[in-house]
Symmetry: C2
Subunit: 476 residues, 2 copies
């Protein structure tokens, strides 16, 4: 995915070399599970962002909480950076070793430790993926709803406070992580939260770690909320004359309190991409892809309400997917929109926005973003978790063109500034990483970022935990 | 409520005297809105906990964010404690000036600043009460669901991460606060969060402040999520042969995913108390008080499911309240259970537990708590937000009896230890305050509490923000 290309998307580096004594100690402790092979390091110095590969100096394949704790203790001793790595699907440069150091690959920590079906909770290791957890609980009539496009690791999803298509009904990782085991910067194991559904017991450390992008600790166990599989599920697509009409339909549904489970917008370009790859033969107009969960009667009732509202906004040609197979095919196509769109412009790269705005401002923001991209003459497509006010416009650019890159970043900047101006956020679900550090400062203000910096300094005084991400540790 | 009584429930004090120069500066800045009158200070040195009055040295009646910022700047300059005060309804000694200092009464900061009906958000000052916010938004077809028993201030509810009867469906303050304006320990104003429904932009400062009990900053503006008033609402009571049967019914409902809005348990003693005060003439057996929200058809469907499950567990004598007046009467009675129970033993005081456990363990925990109280011969009643796994057993004790006090505390201890042992929490919604500092340490462990302490030191280096609450700043 990140093959070398003519122009440099190399992030600013400030390398802290790995002392030979530390590498030796890691080899002693981890044997073959410590690798400094170039290929292994390169593989761990990238994610799905457009940045150049920025490898760590060694990769440790951790198999237990004790492995993580021991590796972090050595990193603490030698004041060397540590970056946790799940499946590498993050989008904003989170995993790049911009200060060097070691990568902790937790993909072998992939056990579902306990399912408490009667309490609707599950405890997993961080390398378990979202598809794996669902596969392991399905026969108990349960599911875990958070579904970023990639088959991400649960640890990574905690790190970026991920969400996806089901968040409109079930919330994000913020609402669905109950408890954590975390290795602190000094290599100590602590626990945050409990399996109780709510608690007022002290500072909400769980929520502090969720979304901290590996900068405050390394998660080694994660307890999640589960949900009973709905008795009835029905999915539908509906075509609209414009993106605005589709979004207005969504706004009306949310304001009425319809408990819709998924409500996704695809613009005509995204539909074209999906058709090219998935051969669904969809009409290439703006489209809502929706899903309803509940009892059969309630699903029926939601469907009727939605059809009525959609028709008022020019929605037509409802198609229903009622069998699991039909539904899976539709949702797989939606999840692959990112890769599908690559087919529109083979060889391209994408730069993707991730703003989330108060729902009443969504139609304006979507329409303006589309118009600006069209005016700028950049190929693009737009998909949106519109029930949440979150959308992604992806600019497809020629990786060899510095000018296209700059043009896409300028469009991204306008989308973000518009979102911030109307009370929204620069990132709904992808996180800050390297790419949005400037935007975070604009959004949160220097005072709030200074507070984040104080917390980081207090919990990680040597700045070893995924340093250089979210904000710079020294005020500008 | 907290009239003097023969035995001392005086918390440990470590007073930091107010320098005369600071008092003078406060008087200069605030004029008559700075009071050091004994009666005013006493009124602000208490809450609904059984502790003795522990007054601050002065009370500032703040009317704006700038007032709060200026008062905190002076407190910072003189390293003097600051305690924010809403309506004084907290239950665990949160408001007691155990290290002296000044109280910031924010009850005059009681404006609803903006209602964004189309985005389902509202921004309020911290002194607005939950009843006030609901009164001001009702005509727009909206409501704010979080309802601790008292008519608490929104600022106080944020401080303790409050919940109440609707949390089973709508979540707690953790899920329903979108953004804050906060005065930091140095008197700076910062903003956390946005009006977007979700965000991955940096550390979740909003969630860090919610539940921090005034120890990390003073909230001056709060943005809340709102909900459309449900199209149909129906409330019901159902009588059960035992608490266990009522709880088993609840467990089955939750496990089935029935979207019940409220599900409250009252034991027979609580029903007796409610009857004494509210003359409802209820059968004095364990009882569930439930409410269903949704479309008329979905409410009907939920009601049928619940009746079926309840009957399987011996539930009988369903009574439905369908008019708003009937419903309000029932819920007012429930909310007044605390005061009603006082009628059972006039002159008594209550010590109330607040554990929350994984739902599958709830029946065992409720039954054991009841049995222990009965065995100990202490009058008591039990109410529970059982849909969340949260219950309160209140021991009614003679305030002049040190022995009864000790017996009640011992029972509380057993309830908490049982909750922690089964993966639950010592406090579901009341907070830690002074009373549960030891329990927090048992529940979270020294490592997690040390992390809270590090955060506190980083954000409040002079330990001026409600010091001496949640944990002691120096490790034991």
């Amino acid at each position: 995915m990140n093959a070398p290309h003519p122009i440099s998307w190399q992030p600013a580096l400030s390398l802290r070399p790995l002392p030979p004594a530390m590498l030796e100690a890691l080899r002693q402790r981890f044997g073959e599970r410590c690798s400094s092979a170039r290929a292994v390091c390169d593989q761990h110095g990238r994610d799905e962002s457009p940045y150049d590969v920025t490898p760590p100096e060694a990769v440790i394949f951790c198999e237990s909480s004790a492995d993580v704790a021991d590796a972090v203790k050595l990193a603490d001793q030698y004041a060397v950076p540590v970056i946790p790595f799940g499946v590498g699907s993050s989008l904003e440069g989170h995993l790049l070793a911009v200060q060097g150091g070691i990568c902790l690959d937790v993909s072998r920590m992939n056990r579902v430790l306990s399912v408490n079906a009667e309490d609707l909770t599950v405890t997993v290791q961080p390398g378990v993926t979202r598809e794996q957890v669902n596969a392991e609980i399905r026969d108990q009539g349960l599911f875990f709803p958070i579904d970023p496009g990639a088959n991400a690791s649960i640890g990574g999803m905690c790190g970026t406070r991920a969400s996806g298509t089901n968040a409109v009904r079930y919330g994000t990782m913020r609402e669905n992580v109950l408890a954590l085991e975390v290795v602190t910067a000094s290599g100590e194991l602590i626990r945050t939260g409990t399996r109780a559904k709510k608690s007022s017991a002290g500072y909400d450390l769980t929520r502090l770690f969720v979304g901290s992008e590996g900068t405050l600790g390394v998660m080694t166990e994660i307890t999640l909320k589960l949900y009973p599989l709905p008795e009835a599920v029905s999915a539908a697509i509906c075509h609209f004359p414009s993106e605005a009409a589709a979004v207005q339909t969504t706004i009306a549904l949310i304001q009425l309190g319809v408990p819709i489970a998924r409500c996704e917008l695809l613009d005509a370009n995204a539909v074209t991409g999906v058709n090219l790859q998935s051969k669904l033969g969809l009409r290439e107009t703006p489209m809502l892809l929706m899903e309803f969960h509940g009892s059969p009667a309630s699903v029926q009732e939601q469907a009727e309400t939605v059809q009525e509202i959609a028709r008022d906004h020019g929605g037509e040609d409802f198609q229903w997917a009622t069998t699991p197979e039909e539904r899976s095919r539709l949702w797989a196509a939606r999840h692959k929109a990112y890769f599908s769109a690559m087919h529109l412009n083979p060889g391209c790269r994408t730069i993707t926005t991730d703003t989330c705005v108060p729902i009443s401002r969504l139609a304006d923001c979507v329409v303006a973003a589309k118009q600006e991209a069209t005016d700028a003459g950049l190929p693009h497509y737009l998909v949106g978790h519109v029930g949440d006010g979150n959308f992604h416009i992806a600019y497809l650019i020629d990786p060899s063109s510095a000018e296209q890159h700059e043009r896409a970043e300028e469009l991204n900047r306008r989308v973000v500034q518009r979102a911030i101006a109307c009370g929204g956020t620069c990132t709904g679900e992808h996180g800050v990483g390297l790419h949005k550090m400037g935007f975070l400062l604009e959004e949160a203000g220097e005072g709030a970022v200074a507070m984040m910096r104080s917390i980081k300094r207090a919990l990680d005084p040597k700045n070893i935990l995924n340093p250089g991400k979210i904000f710079s540790i020294n005020p500008p």
